[in-house]
Symmetry: C2
């Protein structure tokens, strides 16, 4: 389902700031903080308010169009998320993030933990960190 459509279903509007945030995230390829999204909007002379960036990210999160990326250091970057369940793999050097899906492979594992602990597991965060192909070359 498209952003436009999702918004419409809820009586919400497709506004300039919302377009901008999506456009910036779309061009980014690595997780961005609210601050850095705002900065890019200034560079692009789109001049949207920082407050709107926060509000838009919250909205996009609810709509599952954006996902929060955690890190041991700087938490809370946001990346555009394609529909469906999946996770992110982030390069520690350049920040480049790629998506991967792997619920199937994990579900077996999760079932096992469920049995062992007695918990009923209904959600998880899985994030991988490493070095992307490009940065591996540069390392030589």
């Amino acid at each position: 389902m498209e952003l436009q459509e999702k918004l419409h279903n809820k009586g919400l509007r497709l506004t300039q700031p919302r377009r901008e945030v999506v456009a910036i995230l779309n061009a980014a390829a690595s997780p961005l903080t609210p601050q850095s999204i705002y900065q890019r909007s200034v560079e692009r002379k789109s001049d949207i308010g920082l407050v709107s960036v926060y509000r838009t990210l919250e909205l996009l999160s609810e709509l599952n169009l954006v996902r929060r990326v955690h890190g041991r250091d700087g938490c809370h970057g946001y990346v555009l998320a394609s529909p469906g369940h999946h996770h992110h793999l982030v390069c520690r050097k350049c920040g480049k993030a790629v998506e991967f899906s792997g619920s199937a492979d994990l579900s077996e594992f999760i079932t096992k933990i469920q049995k062992e602990t007695g918990y009923k597991i209904n959600e998880h965060i899985l994030q991988l960190y490493g070095i992307c192909p490009k940065c591996q070359e540069e390392r030589q």
Copy 2:
């Protein structure tokens, strides 16, 4: 390796605030924020400064005695971590967290992603969320 020992190796001291933070986390069973650790220390009349809580958590993180827990909502809870690699499973109702280890089961999966993406993966975050046995009963 014990806290006492780890500190000693680095020429650091086992102080009252450090004891307190560990004691509070030890009694907690669910991830605590710096603020809530501080509050408990006030309740316990141990009267350590909030600043020391932050500093102690940072130190304990470096020593791998404490782990940060992320959530989609309130990030940055801390739990005591037993030595070795493992993850946490958190109850969404009462917050109770349990540890589980599963590197073996995951490594296969990670190798696969590594091949698919070309990234060299060297770290990951895995956190599970669900309902603990106790809270499942109360649900009736």
